[in-house]
Amino acid sequence: MKREVPLFITAAIGLFMILSFFVPHQVVSVPSDFLQQTAVILVAFGYVLGGANVLKINFDGIYKRKPGWAYKLVLVISLLVTVIVGLAEGRTWQDPHSMSIWIYDHLYAPMNATMFSLLAFFIASAAFRAFRIRTFEAGLLAAAALIVMLGRVPVGDLLTSWLPHGLQLGTIQQWIMDNPQNAAKRAIIMGAAMGVMATGLRVILGIERSYLSGED
């Protein structure tokens, strides 16, 4: 029951989804449509579960007064407030002037955006402190990086405006993107596709079970 049933479910559904790719007949397409609907619903439940999990872990931390519990309190309160407001506002919670959208616009959105903009700073310092051209390969990488970086923005053409059009950074950048980088990227894409397919096969056949790990 604990292992066999899930393995059977995965195998049956996985094979059926593959079948539905090749067989358009309604005998296959209607159930597979239902399975997709099921997946959509379950993923949504998964998000709710994820939130509940965050609550559980942090309640635990607060209760035991683990280090940084005050921050955890901030987390729990903000989570609960967001949920209560959202549920209380009912089906029209996404109207432009609702409380939920205020929270989204003025808390969620700016922090979400700023967290990732920090990387602009780190990328500069990493370029200075940890970009070593020690081998021929690293030299190729650096050359391509510099050409693309400068050629992709207006300043690249400006710096090389004295050269004929074909030798300007913007043109070379486009050639690199279209040819050598495109060829290598395609090889990577194909390799990754084989990796995904092999994993998919192992999951469906029940050989790969790491997703079932955890307490029995």
């Binding site: 790719f21 397409s29 449509d33 997709q36 609907q37 997946a39 959509v40 993923v43 949504a44 998964g46 998000y47 089906r91 029209t92 996404q94 109207d95 432009p96 959208i101 989204y104 616009d105 969620y108 959105a109 700016p110 979400n112 955006a113 967290m115 990732f116 602009a120 700073f121 990328i123 500069a124 310092s125 370029a127 200075f128 402190r129 940890a130 970009f131 070593r132 051209i133 650096a142 990086a145 510099l146 970086m149 400068l150 992709r152 923005v153 207006p154 300043v155 053409d157 400006l158 913007g170 486009q174 993107m177 279209d178 980088q181 495109n182 990227k185 395609r186 894409i189």
Partner: protein, 280 residues
């Protein structure tokens, strides 16, 4: 100088970075922009859509990618509305439906589009969980995957949403315009919808994922590709939009790129001088 550079606190680099981005935002220079082929292909592909048809626009991003994707989202929307196309908007990123709706409303508030009607000229179907499953599900019926829109109107209520009368599945659309920040996004639309349902598509994406989508462009799976803010700026230029947000960002972008390039070169010069064994 070299000695100082060797053990410079990285916060000095942070400061320089900040100032270099800030300066051109306050005092614009206006470097000339040139439209590259993938961006021109994007504009041409959208232009080739028959006037007045209903187009699917999936906006899979969240506020973190706003500076890169919102400008191109707006320009694409303007191009479609200029062609009197009707637009069906979806969003597969959980953090995205709010900003996507806001972006559309901002374009709608512009004088040229103010008299367009919600439910007639466009509909925002909002967010749906499930990534690839939603994409394939829409192939059997858009209304089945999205029973209500962002504002909670039923998608089978043609009184409230007349546009949905023309929307059944992917065969109802001549093209998919995808604005993508990662997973799920262009790669998955190519795999599940372009391949499976043969729906032609164009993609506007963040710069990080642009190189990965070049093979799709070469293979014709994508009809056009906008890469990051530079792609958005080129698109604005191709559409002759004066001083769009991406175009205005290009000066800062240029200076910051110069700075990073300088960091790479300088970093290598400085470090070469380092005596071996000093921890390098």
């Amino acid at each position: 100088m070299l000695a100082w550079l060797q053990k410079v606190d990285r916060r000095w680099i942070f400061l320089w970075m900040g100032l270099l981005v800030l300066e051109p935002l306050l005092f614009p220079v206006g470097f000339p922009i040139r439209v590259t082929r993938p961006a021109q292909m994007f504009a041409d592909a959208v232009a080739s859509i028959p006037d007045g048809s209903t187009v699917l626009m999936s906006c899979d991003y969240d506020p973190a990618s706003r500076p890169e994707l919102v400008p191109m989202h707006k320009t694409a929307l303007r191009q479609l509305w200029d062609k009197h196309c009707k637009v069906v908007v979806t969003c597969l990123w959980p953090g995205g439906s709010g900003i996507v709706d806001e972006t559309i409303r901002e374009v709608h508030d512009e004088p040229a589009y103010r008299n367009l009607k919600y439910g007639v000229d466009w509909v925002n179907l909002g967010y749906k969980a499930g990534n690839e499953a939603v994409m394939v599900l829409m192939g059997q019926g858009v209304a089945g995957a999205f029973p209500v829109d962002y504002y909670n109107h039923s998608t089978s209520d043609y009184q409230a949403l007349p546009i949905m009368r023309n929307v059944r599945d992917y065969s109802s659309f001549p093209m998919l315009v995808n604005i993508s920040a990662g997973y799920p996004g262009t790669k998955e639309w190519v795999q599940q919808v372009n391949s499976r349902f043969h729906l032609p598509m164009v993609s506007g994406c963040t710069a990080v994922s642009t190189p990965e989508y070049y093979p799709y462009l070469q293979a014709g799976q994508l009809r056009g590709l906008l890469g990051g803010m530079a792609g958005a700026a080129e698109y604005e230029l191709a559409r002759k939009e004066k001083l769009g947000p991406a175009t205005r960002g290009m000066d800062a972008q240029s200076l910051a790129h110069l700075f990073v390039a300088l960091c790479i070169v300088l970093g290598n010069i400085v470090q070469r001088r380092r005596t071996p064994g000093s921890g390098a």
